[in-house]
């Protein structure tokens, strides 16, 4: 990837090269630009892409270094174990989210049963709960001294070893937690796919003799399959990236291995090599996602969106549908939130209030800074590609948004290695030249942490900004130009006002992702600088679950904001109303 990125950047911007049509929305004409503008507009996305591929490049470079000492040992002893657990988690989560997400999506879009419209948006709620927060809540409920086991013992008069009870702190437990919080990815994409399916194809299936179930299996499901695969791929990427859940449950995966190699052994090479192996897993998932998205594009042959044929469920089948939707909402959101609230109320340390405010402030500073920078960067990238829609700018944007697939722990290693190298080089030079030691300037700084967040979450803002910009009629640009606006004035007077809601949404999404982020923060935060997520993790690691509940609840509360916005969009978009475009 480094090689490719470098080659892309070195190619001279060739204004006379024919522009290949790569996207449907792209205007067929070449926008007109003064030569100076062409340079700036092409150079900017390329520079951003280079800056944003640096962490991945740093990790891949370490594959070339000889493994020695602990690294060699690590590779031979723990690698197979990590790979096996990671695969186990991946398969379990993959199957779980696919069934839960697709099933609930089909029920709420194509069946009518009591509460289906409430479930349509409530099924998204678990998205607000990070996996590690679920882990804290369920550990409290299901551990030996917890309410469930205590009640069972009281009820049946069992003693400690009289009965078998599933161990929540296991790979199986982690899988269950992750399925419960990640299925909404599949649910959201599958639901959209079902809604967008033309009523005609389903009606044709019925007239050709398919029962409702058959038309689901033979028409709706195959048509929605790319969306379902894409949703599963997103959930799997989150699974690969998860650190908090598996670490708390003591499950050994690549992420725990990377964090341990870095924080406990200080072994840079081992951490980088484990990261590289994890990246290859992630790459496979990214390819799967890209492939299925590409297929999803050309699906609909008919553009008629009317009310979908709804199957009215009664009696037992209605009760079954209610149960099937209530279980994920209940276990993925209501129960953990109630448990956390119960635990939080049990804590009476009013003196700690100041401490929580400080955590909140730290999380807001990191989240807010990253969100603003991510949106500005995304606008620059997307607008650059609009002004100069060349293969070069598009490739640059693709590279710059690769970071979303990189797990936080890997990202931390990828940022820390070059920043430490830069610090050492600067320190050495300053000592030799001025006899002054500068120490670590970048490493352990807020700037480095924000940079890591930015690389990791840029794709979130870029996707939103690019989609919003793509909806603006290119003739708007032309009209503004002819009426006397230069390129920058056009952005200011036309594009930014039109994109404002999308920009706010993009900033919000990045903000929430940063607040929830755990492993990179854990590895990179400045000394004595804790965030909500880090503090919750530290309390939980010390088995002080009740104290972990308060920061956890705050994280869920913040995470709820975008989820509520999403839910409102869902509640407003009635099946069949269609997703008709904005301005």
């Amino acid at each position: 990837m480094l090689d490719h990125g470098a080659r892309v950047s070195l190619a001279p911007p060739d204004a006379s090269a024919p522009v290949l049509p790569a996207r449907a929305w792209r205007p067929t004409w070449r926008p007109t630009w003064r030569p100076t503008w062409a340079g700036v507009v092409t150079a900017l996305p390329v520079a951003i892409a280079l800056l944003f591929t640096l962490p991945i490049s740093a990790i891949l470079l370490h594959l070339l270094l000889p493994a020695e000492g602990a690294a060699a040992h690590l590779a031979t002893t723990v690698l197979p174990g990590y790979a096996l657990t990671t695969l186990q988690l991946g398969v379990g989560v993959g199957i779980g989210v696919t069934i839960l997400g697709t099933g609930t999506a089909w029920l709420v879009t194509l069946c009518r049963f009591p509460g289906h419209s409430v479930f349509a948006w409530a099924l998204v709620l678990p998205l607000a709960v990070p996996g590690y927060v679920m882990a804290y809540a369920y550990t409290d409920v299901l551990q030996f001294a917890g309410p469930v086991q205590t009640a069972l013992r009281d009820l049946f008069g069992w003693q400690a070893r009289d009965y078998w009870f599933p161990q929540i702190r296991s790979a199986g437990g982690a899988t269950a937690m992750l399925v419960l919080v990640l299925y909404p990815y599949v649910y959201l994409l599958a639901r959209t796919a079902f809604l967008e399916q033309s009523v005609c194809t389903l009606e044709v299936a019925r007239t050709l003799g398919c029962s409702p179930w058959q038309s689901f299996r033979r028409v709706a499901l195959p048509a929605a399959r790319p969306a379902i695969v894409a949703g599963t791929a997103l959930a799997l990427m989150e699974t690969m990236a998860d650190y908090g859940t598996v670490a708390f449950f003591g499950v050994q995966t690549f992420t725990t291995g990377i964090v341990r190699a870095w924080l406990s052994y200080g072994d840079r090479v081992a951490a980088a090599q484990l990261s590289a192996v994890l990246l290859s897993f992630v790459l496979a998932i990214v390819l799967l996602e890209r492939h299925s998205r590409a297929q999803a594009r050309f699906h609909h042959t008919s553009a008629r969106y009317r009310f979908l044929p709804a199957y009215r469920l009664r009696g037992l089948s209605a009760a079954g549908a209610v149960l099937a939707c209530a279980v994920p909402v209940g276990f993925g959101f209501l129960l953990p939130v109630l448990v956390l609230a119960g635990m939080a109320l049990g804590v009476d340390e009013p003196g700690r209030l100041g401490r929580y405010l400080e955590l909140l402030r730290n999380s807001f500073v990191l989240g807010g800074t990253t969100a603003v920078l991510a949106v500005i960067t995304a606008v620059a990238m997307a607008y650059g590609a609009r002004l100069r829609p060349t293969p070069l700018t598009h490739a640059a944007n693709r590279f710059a948004s690769l970071g979303y697939a990189v797990p936080g722990a890997v990202m931390a290693v990828g940022v820390l290695i070059p920043s430490a190298a830069a610090d050492n080089a600067l320190d050495g030079w300053m000592r030799a030249t001025f006899g002054v030691s500068t120490g670590l300037l970048l490493t352990g700084s807020i700037a480095a942490l924000v940079y890591a967040y930015l690389v990791r979450f840029l794709a979130v803002s870029f996707t939103a900004v690019e989609a919003s910009l793509g909806k603006i009629n290119p003739n708007m640009d032309g009209a503004a130009r002819v009426l006397g606006c230069g390129p920058l004035a056009t952005v200011r007077r036309v594009h930014l006002p039109l994109m404002r809601p999308s920009l706010l949404a993009a900033a919000l999404l990045v903000f929430v992702d940063v607040v929830k982020e755990l492993p990179a923060t854990l590895m990179m935060r400045p000394f004595d600088f804790d965030t909500l997520a880090v503090q919750a993790y530290n309390f939980a690691s010390d088995e002080r679950l009740a104290e972990a509940a308060i920061p956890s609840l705050i994280i869920v509360g913040i995470g709820l904001v975008p989820v509520i916005l999403l839910s409102r969009t869902i509640a407003r978009s009635r099946p069949g109303a269609g997703a008709q475009a904005v301005p």
Binding site: W29, T32, A479, V482, G484
Partner: protein, 350 residues
Amino acid sequence: MNLSLEGIRHAYGDKRVLDDVSVTVRPGEVACLLGPSGCGKTTLLRIAAGLEVAAGGRVVIGGRLVADAAAGLHLPPEARRVGLMFQDYALFPHLTIFDNVAFGVTDRSPATRARLHEALDRMGLEGYARSYPHVLSGGQQQRCALIRALAPEPDILLLDEPFSNLDVTLRADVRDQALALLKERRVTTLVVTHDPQEAMAIADKLWILYEGRVVQSGTPEEIYAHPRHASIARLFGPMNAVGGVVRDGAVVTPLGAFAAAGLDEGASAEVLIRPEGMRLAAVEGEGAHAEVIAAHLLGCVTRLRLAVAGVVEPLDALVPGVTHPRPGESVRVGVDPDLAFVFVGDARAA
């Protein structure tokens, strides 16, 4: 101000779109670029506006050279003082009607604001000044876009398919209103359209563009009466095609002989006849014998479908009056020579 496009060439990748196209619009004139879709006419408009960089040629607006491909000169659109109205109007959805119209006007003095309000009033839009574009009907959006393009008082005005998005019943009214405004202000205007009726209705001068080249230019009357190619003749509606051979400087056909000066003796030629150029002969013995296949009253005229002996395809005739022969009747038909055009070769394939 005049507009002069000189030797414009342009290509998208390998596809040549414009090939040495020269068009001039005299001050105050409304010129029309007429051609089928995909002939490069919108590209030419975008090159004039500066939204597209031509691969070759020069653009001169009011004596000022604004683009010269050979010299690498390309003035950006915001520096050209042109008005451009897009086919889809491209009104800014986040601005009120007044703010849309005032977008290109830098001077916000009370006098200017009054002038803009007056323009809105004249086009019947003053009541919508504070509304947003989505509440306007198609015709209102069109008028708003026209006022917006004219508000900065551009040197020239470019209109891209200005009336094609309008309902047919509205089109004529909106067109007359717009044309009256342009004529009153004496704005130099270049209109792009694929609709010959529309072009005839508004143009002082027509430029026919075909496959990236100007194939004929002139007043609408000249082009209607003297089309240079069969395809130009066909622009104004379906034609009757009759084949024949040149004998003594005339094409001899079953419908009579047509003057064909300059054609080789014995060459095969085709005669295209406008349906309105077919005449029912009043005098017995005049014209060619034909049988009526079908007759439809269209209002002020009647369309007859005729089978003529020696002609394979049935011919159409538009004849005045409501009393007409019935299907099956025999008639005699003649041709108005001013509405018949002779072309070399097989005109049916053109």
